[in-house]
């Protein structure tokens, strides 16, 4: 069969763009339902202990209140491994902000007023909310997210370090950071007998529908989750969050639809965040910079409700060739909310540590930082030795160097000055896994000449719907207008979530397969019969049959910074990212994804920091006034480009995924540039002005 490639690669506008700007596109909290009631979450005001009592009766007397649900009257749920979903099952408080009651009322305002007035008394116990590298309860988890080994060892790191002519041994840290998607987490649940329908803001309706079926002990076929439009998630909507279970629980108890939407403040405790990390990196090398040993040890936190172990050192298992390589993760379960995925979990903080350390090594060896990375480029995956399906890190570095104007760079720090501004440039490398997960899709040929694709994909603002429309149109050999891609409905069959940068790789595979099947069926029928035709595809077997290769995207990040010599103010006039991420389906939305990732990397470098108040056991800054996210005027020039990379060992289109790699390495590139400008190393994020002045 010939594939007519007409739209894949083109900068096609979002197909739902008009619906979004006119307000026609409906988000989870926007579906009008008759007799809809509203739930408001009452959150624990202690970080650890027990709920002694909730004054339910007084709450019930408040205007409009329909129910006050607590552990005393909540229906029992089936036990699942994600303890955050087992809401209101007992009196234990595991973190400040955990749900202790849900007040349901006829209006949102009534629910909130009653929730505010509800009196809850507690027996508080001393809490422990601070991560440290010598915490007595550190332990090695069984695996790290999602299923990587906790520790790895190749060779003998101590021997390698002992032999090394040059060594770096430093500790880096990153703070807790919160995802903050624009659209709040919201779920609206409606029961019809034993059938449950939920309008939900998530990154994958399949997973949420599976989790709801489990928690409520239902057959999956009776649960439907709809999430047609989603306003961002960045990992915090990758699986069901407490509000989804609460809405379904309340709707069942009241026998009417119930909506639970979280406020911005509530999102700072209930839906996940990036764990703080403390990372010790040891590098040993010969004088030319060739690595003799790399040791990356990570300390991070989880909650007492659910173990989430960020795969922070994974980055070091992929990047550089060395005979002696060790990575370790140690976790402590604190009285804090559960950390979760946040854009590039693992790689984002891990790259900050290793790519900063590589810059320190470059200086110690007096080797250009790009040259150092080229010298240590890996022919096979450093941990495990699998061949790469493709690895174009060196090409990204050299393309970036010429675009950025790296060639004449004077490596000496603190020597360029423009008035009160010190100027510096920095580089860092970037990588992210390119995985695919089993998905299903169907495509139907309608009698009127249209084609309808159904896949439980999620478009969380990425442009996924548009890209899938391009994929299907090309496979079917028809213009875009004849293809209608429907997503975000668990009834369409199981599919991967929009997460791990695996969405497009996974969904496009199923869509391509279904389209090819449909074309064959049409040929066989000699055309589309009156009743239309439907083809279905499932990629589970194809993925299981894949060769055992190391599949990753790579990139190079460049930054120019200006640092005010007296105030420590940092400006970033230029960022450049060059990526080798397989085939780009939509040049416009892909560019936005990469720019968005790099913007977040800048924000991570300079601003984002959730500050733990140890006394109360809560994050102090829990709104967008106190938690700084870069504003437009903080972002200056961002330039993005990609190599024309063809990798036929990935999936039919050769897609690697671009949602996360943009944030990986950005903070290190900026930190390295700040060093080059000032001569002071920045090993702790964010790089606040006061830290620049007093290193």
């Amino acid at each position: 069969m010939t594939t007519l490639s007409r739209t894949v690669g083109a900068p096609v506008n979002r197909v739902e763009g008009k619906a979004k700007v006119t307000g026609e596109a409906r988000y989870a909290a926007e579906f009008p339902l008759t007799r809809l009631a509203y739930g408001w979450v009452v959150q624990a005001t202690i970080a650890r202990g027990r709920v002694l009592s909730v004054e339910e009766e007084a709450g019930m007397r408040m205007p409009g209140v329909l129910a006050v649900i607590t552990h005393g009257n909540a229906p029992r749920l089936q036990v699942v491994d994600d303890g955050e979903l087992l809401v209101l099952q007992d009196e234990q408080v595991h973190y400040r902000g955990q749900t202790v009651a849900l007040v349901v009322a006829s209006t949102l305002e009534q629910a909130r007023a009653a929730a505010d007035a509800l009196r809850v008394s507690y027996a508080a116990e001393p809490h422990d909310v601070l991560l440290s590298a010598d915490h007595p309860r550190l332990y090695a988890p069984d695996h790290v997210n999602p299923n990587y080994p906790t520790d790895t060892l190749t060779g003998d790191v101590e021997a390698g370090m002992a032999r090394a002519e040059v060594t770096v041994d430093e500790t880096y840290s990153t703070p807790a950071e919160h995802n903050n998607p624009m659209e709040p987490h919201s779920s609206t649940a409606q029961w019809d007998g034993d059938r449950l329908t939920v309008y939900d803001s998530n990154q994958g309706a399949t997973r949420v529908h599976q989790q709801l079926a489990q928690v409520f002990g239902l057959d999956r076929s009776t649960v439907r989750v709809l999430s047609e439009h989603v306003g961002g998630g960045f990992g915090s909507k990758g699986s069901a969050r407490p509000q989804t279970v609460l809405a379904a629980m309340a709707a069942r108890m009241l026998d009417r639809p119930v909506r639970v939407t979280l406020s911005r403040q509530q999102q700072f405790s209930m839906v996940g965040y990036r764990t703080p990390t403390i990372q010790r990196v040891r590098l040993g090398a010969d004088r030319s910079g060739r690595l003799a040993a790399l040791d990356h040890e990570v300390f991070e936190q989880t909650s007492t409700l659910y173990e989430f172990a960020e795969q922070t050192a994974l980055f070091s298992r992929v990047m550089y060739a060395t005979p002696n390589l060790r990575t370790r993760h140690r976790l402590v379960a604190l009285d804090v909310p559960t950390p979760r995925w946040m854009r590039a979990p693992g790689e984002a903080p891990g790259s900050f540590a290793l790519e900063s350390a590589m810059d320190e090594l470059a200086e110690a060896c007096a080797v250009d930082p790009i040259e150092l990375r080229v010298r240590n480029d890996a022919a096979v995956e450093p941990e495990g030795g699998r061949p790469f399906s493709s690895r174009n890190l060196v090409a990204c570095l050299s393309e970036g160097a010429s675009r950025f104007g790296w060639a004449d760079r004077d490596p000496r720090p603190a020597t360029r000055r423009d008035g009160r501004w010190l100027i510096g440039t920095g580089v860092a490398a970037s990588t992210y896994p390119a995985r695919s997960a089993p998905s299903t899709a169907s495509v139907s040929a309608e009698a009127n000449g249209a084609f309808v694709v159904r896949v439980t994909a999620a478009d969380i603002g990425t442009g996924a719907r548009t890209a899938l429309t391009q994929v299907a149109a090309d496979e079917l050999g028809v213009p875009l207008e004849r293809v209608d891609v429907r997503i975000g409905d668990s009834d369409y069959g199981p599919a991967m979530i929009a997460g791990g940068s695996m969405g497009m790789a996974s969904w496009s595979w199923a869509v391509v397969k279904a389209c090819r099947q449909l074309r064959a069926d049409i040929d066989e029928h000699g055309g589309v019969p009156d009743g239309g035709l439907v083809a279905r595809a499932d990629t589970a077997d194809d993925i299981a049959a894949q060769a055992n290769l190391a599949r990753h995207g790579f990139g190079a990040q460049f930054a120019e910074v200006r640092v005010d010599v007296d105030t420590g103010e940092i400006r970033v006039p230029r960022l450049l990212g060059v990526f080798a991420v397989g085939r780009i389906i939509n040049a416009k939305t892909a560019r936005s994804q990469l720019i968005g990732g790099m913007t977040w990397g800048l924000s991570m470098a300079l601003f984002e920091e959730s500050v733990m108040d140890a006394e109360f056991g809560d994050y102090l800054n829990h709104d967008l006034a106190g938690y700084h996210v870069a504003a437009n005027a903080d972002v200056q020039g961002i330039d993005v480009s990609w190599l024309d990379e063809h990798d036929d060992q990935l999936n039919p289109l050769g897609v690697k995924g671009i949602g996360e790699i943009g944030i990986v390495g950005t903070a290190a590139a900026i930190a390295n540039a700040v060093y080059h400008a000032t001569g002071h190393r920045q090993r702790h994020l964010p790089i606040r002005p006061d830290r620049v002045l007093s290193p």
Binding site: L108, E109, R112, A113, D116, S263, R264, D566, T567, E569, L606, F607, E609, V611, L620, N621, A625, G626, H628, A630, A631, N632, A633, D634, R688, P689, D690, L693
Partner: protein
């Protein structure tokens, strides 16, 4: 982000507002642009029993001048202060600073009177008005007025000289003369954010040197502060005295530590920014 319950009244004149205030008692609050009060109510840091909306009293929004002063109605929006030709001509420091407040939306709603009455030490206009030796006209019951100089006005954190049954009706600002140079420097971590530290400086130039200087600080204590030691050190001084004078900026301040910056960094910033602001106000050598 929903405030607690409150009553709401629209006043159509200052008298009307005063009688409404008297009727509701001490738990009532005036509402002007709402851009400080409403956020506090949404966070439930403030729970007034009633709001008396003076934001629609047209007579409170004006910019006029007499010989030595510019008179600004308390209800004048930041945007109008920023764009007023009279203020631009007579007191460019004030119009410039109004343009640095928040974002356009904030500037179209917030008022100069609200900013002054709120008494937030992180606000920009109070500092500038303190440096300018402005006067505040307060109107009480029966239309009685009293005039409070800026130096007596800011009493503490969110605390001013305005009495419970008084309204700030006018701000009077002495005009700057031809020999006056000025500067306002606002340092924030994220664009459009509040000042971590701000500095207002007014320099009377004399023969290329400094005749006298007025310097005030934003967010270096519970109220906007005059940097008196700096002012004394600069009186009659030459340009090269600026660094040593600026180093006195932290004297008499009591900055807090918060998630944006520590107190030591604030003191350091005060020093740096005072030096820069005085240089800028003095103008090129």
């Amino acid at each position: 982000m929903i405030p607690a319950e409150f009553n709401y009244e629209v006043a159509d004149s200052v008298d009307h507002a005063l009688s409404l205030l008297a009727g509701y008692g001490p738990e009532a609050k005036l509402l002007a642009g709402g851009h400080s009060l409403i956020p506090m109510m949404k966070l439930r840091f403030a729970r007034p029993s009633a709001l008396v909306d003076i934001g629609r009293i047209a007579a409170l929004s004006y910019v006029e001048q007499d010989d030595g002063h510019i008179r600004i109605g308390a209800g004048t929006r930041h945007h109008d202060v920023h764009h007023s030709p009279l203020i631009e001509a007579g007191c460019p420091l004030l119009s410039f600073t109004a343009g640095l407040i928040g974002d356009p939306q904030v500037r179209h709603k917030g008022t100069i009177g609200g900013s002054v009455a709120h008494g937030d030490p992180a606000s920009d206009l109070p500092t500038v008005l303190l440096a300018l030796d402005a006067e505040f006209v307060l109107t009480g019951s029966g239309g009685a007025t009293r005039v409070v100089p800026a130096s007596d006005f800011f009493k503490g954190f969110f605390e001013t000289a305005i009495g419970p049954e008084e309204i700030l009706t006018e701000i009077r600002v002495p005009k700057l003369g031809a020999s006056s140079g000025w500067s306002y420097l606002k340092f924030s971590r994220r664009a459009q954010d509040w000042a971590i530290v701000g500095v207002a400086a007014i320099v009377e130039r004399s023969n290329g040197g400094i005749g006298s200087a007025r310097v005030a600080l934003t967010n270096m204590g519970a109220t906007p502060l005059r940097a008196s030691s700096v002012e004394q050190a600069l009186a009659g001084a030459e340009r090269d005295a600026i660094p040593a004078a600026a180093a006195m900026a932290p004297e008499g301040t009591s900055p807090t530590s918060d998630t944006n910056a520590g107190a030591n960094y604030r003191r350091h910033l005060a020093d740096v920014l005072v030096g820069r602001a005085v240089e800028e106000a003095l103008g090129g050598p």
